[in-house]
Point group: C3
Chain length 359, copies 3
């Protein structure tokens, strides 16, 4: 139980020193600039001559127009105002009309450099490291089973109002499903108590649900028609990944991951990566599950939009939490510390706590 007034900036910790999905690989094609906004900054994505993805701050160092108002040629981005050309590493190789001899050589080149972000391309996503002051000291998140032929993997980019914290708390929140998504997933009847074990690590927090029966809503019936007791974990991984894992016996395994990218403090893209192993015929799963999943996400978008409006209108957050809010405040604490650059001790034992939830 806690109730405390927090400023909007305390509710939106900016974890810069981290990898974020900038776009699916397929969206970034040769010779075409692509602009994405992360942490409020426009980022120009393009492919170099070798096909590797590159990311520059989309502001020409010369007169501060977007470099993207020009184009990409021979693996270099060129600005549409004066034709300056930039390599994938940000160096400016051409200033049309300039008498190179009289323009300061290396010093001049450094001043004309565009800011370049480290980039990785992995498992079908282009990831950008958003901290220009520190080199990457980790690698992007790995989606288990996303490349596993025994699993059906579906991806979808979903944009919503709401901070990364709000979106992930929502994605990992069990109690709202019986109301906001009433009937689709869980219902508000015949509740039974289950045990929830929360474990907070240095860079993640998880909740294990013990004694949970297969939920009675439509999605759950389809995925696990036989019923039974579930293995169920909800996890948050720094800086912005939600993970829901269900397992029923050895045949059914469901992994729902959401890699969140903050467009701005209160707008987020959730790159959903769902990997499913199920005895159901695979050709049935997608057409049945996808419309329901999108309906559920639409309801979440609606409530996140309302929550965003209310927070902005009041200019503060004042959250009264209960035992049922198993992960939200842990996520905010991990993000706040990471934004401050305080890394936890990875070798320390997790902080563990158990509560009861009627599901």
């Amino acid at each position: 139980m806690e109730e405390q007034s927090r400023t909007l900036s305390a509710m939106t910790p900016k974890v810069l020193r981290a990898w974020y999905v900038a776009c699916p690989s397929g969206e970034l094609v040769a010779d075409k600039p692509l602009v994405k906004r992360i942490h409020g900054r426009p980022i120009l994505l393009f492919r170099g001559a070798d096909g590797r993805a590159a990311a520059l701050l989309d502001r020409c160092p010369h007169r501060n127009v977007p470099i993207s108002c020009g184009g990409v040629k021979d693996g270099r981005a060129w600005c549409g105002y004066h034709g300056w050309e930039f390599e994938p590493d940000g160096s400016c190789t051409t200033v049309p009309g300039l008498d190179a001899d009289a323009n300061g050589g290396a010093t001049g080149l450094a001043a004309r450099r565009a800011m370049a972000f480290p980039v990785r391309e992995q498992q079908g996503f282009v990831w950008v490291w958003t901290d220009l002051a520190h080199a990457p000291d980790t690698e992007p998140f790995h989606f288990a089973h996303a490349d596993d032929p025994d699993y059906l993997t579906v991806r979808r980019a979903l944009t919503t109002k709401g901070s990364v914290h709000m979106v992930i708390e929502n994605a990992l929140d069990v109690p709202h499903t019986a109301f906001l998504h009433g009937g689709l997933f869980r219902t508000n009847t015949k509740r039974r108590p289950i045990r929830c074990v929360v474990r907070r690590f240095a860079d993640k927090v998880e909740c294990q649900y013990i004694g949970e029966q297969r939920p009675s809503g439509l999605v759950a019936r389809l995925l696990a028609p036989g019923g039974g007791e579930l293995e169920h974990y909800d996890r948050f991984h720094l800086p912005s990944i939600s993970e829901v894992e269900y397992r029923l016996g050895t045949d059914s395994h469901l992994l729902l991951r959401g890699a969140c990218t903050p467009i701005d403090d209160f707008e987020t893209v959730l790159y959903a990566v769902v990997s499913i192993k199920t005895p159901l015929p695979r050709m049935l799963v997608r057409p049945i599950i996808e419309p329901i999943a999108l309906k559920i996400f639409g309801q979440d978008q609606w409530i996140l939009d309302k929550q965003t409006d209310t927070l902005k209108s009041f200019g503060e957050a004042k959250f009264a939490s209960t035992d049922l809010d198993v992960l939200g405040m842990h996520i905010l604490r991990l993000m706040t510390r990471a934004a401050r650059g305080e890394a936890g001790d990875p070798s320390a034992d997790p902080v563990e706590r158990e509560v009861t939830m009627w599901v």
Copy 2:
């Protein structure tokens, strides 16, 4: 005469410790949440199990979504995100899924309380007391003759740009009628001097017009076809009520009241309550007067919109007043003192002043 630069916040004193009309009674029906904005805050109105009106701050104490995104059932408001339920007094009686034993009993309940505003329902309006820190020490304004069968009473809710102060100064301002409403009410010809006696009390200010002939415009001719000398008072009652009273002999009596509710600093709802006694057949009054009254209000809306834009654009007010501005600055002074919590002495003699106006 005065000319002084005032900030926009000095022009919009916030009198919280007061009653405001939230809605007409008929707009608030059972089992349906109704949201109104007062002083910039969203207020959820609903009816309890006994039918009495209730008002809660429309922000769920749990995760700060609007409670109104859920609904009303059995006289309780429930939040659409996690299903928390609230009584008319704001107490939270249900948190679905929560193991009550482990959640702090009374302490827990207090933290989960929604903020409740005192409410009165009177003469067809739901009134809300907007100060959460102080209990009501007055009752809402009483509209004389609104329930009197000898009078025809017409009500109308009118929304306009402009602060409460601007709207009321406009409603009680005589000189603009010959210009902004030229011909409809007064005209700019054949003017004669009249005496204006202004009396400022602790909680109201009035102007008595002495020697005024029935105006020459259309409305006045209809209401008082015989002409003659009027009794005419304009009054402001704290926090936000304008009152115009005309009497002609014993047969004609007109009371125009505007109860203003500040949606925001520069947006106001004026709940007009007009009570008329006239020798004209009652079935003629409404169809003739109403379109003209709405045309007049439309012109006032137009000028209040322009005035609001200009004040915001300059970021200040700089008003040069003359003797003709009999009430405006008194109203601002009363509101400013009330917003600071400075009550005047109700037993003191009124401050009185007399000026001449050519009408």
Copy 3:
């Protein structure tokens, strides 16, 4: 070469003590109020009884509505709220309904005065002096040859996003023409070095281009079909005039002037005055040149819009200049000093510098 972070207000020096074009003479007709925004302030223009142009701050001193919501009658502006009347010099001659004897005579009149700006009407433009604290100590800019029958003079009012500084740097910038306007004016091929001599005076800065051949783009071919070496000067005159001058032999002379008026920090009207002497038949010049000139201006509008968005989004400017940016930073320096009221010494020798540009 320089790279430095500047605030947005450092990028938009407000030179108040100066003349700006408010409108073309023909736009200001008798008995009709005209409102223009300069430096963010609404200015009411009208003609007095003698036909002379007048300019008042468009805020009624009484209740701060726009005076223009009324009208103009007998050479006086009247406010639409209470009918106050203002002379071209701002004095308030009429307050309808007011008992003049009791209202403070001259003192009262002064307080009711509208703020009046000095005005000049010259060469088809109405100019306004925007500093209310200092009387004019100069006269408006004179457009050479605009009234000369040997020249064809074309005028056009063009509105664009961008500060005065951004618009003028763009108008006087040679290198962008080969990219943003590629093919229309210059091209990015067959470049040859030319000498650029920059001379900064107390109230203007110019660049003389020496050794420039007629450009290879379409406009240049039309205006100077014979080719040859150009005389070419680009000039900035305080507070906001750009001037491009080309001369080829004795037959061809082109003067492009842009008198900029800041609507707001980042919105500008450019009053273009183009005077042309050319051996081409005059009836051919306009239909051929005008559509191309408008296309070029459309491209400049597009890039200035992008530049404005980027500056606002980052909340700062960080410009890396090279030798090719011959005038931009000099213009900003002259404007910044003029905004501070620091006049340069007009008798001092100009600061002179020479660079090479490949054109």
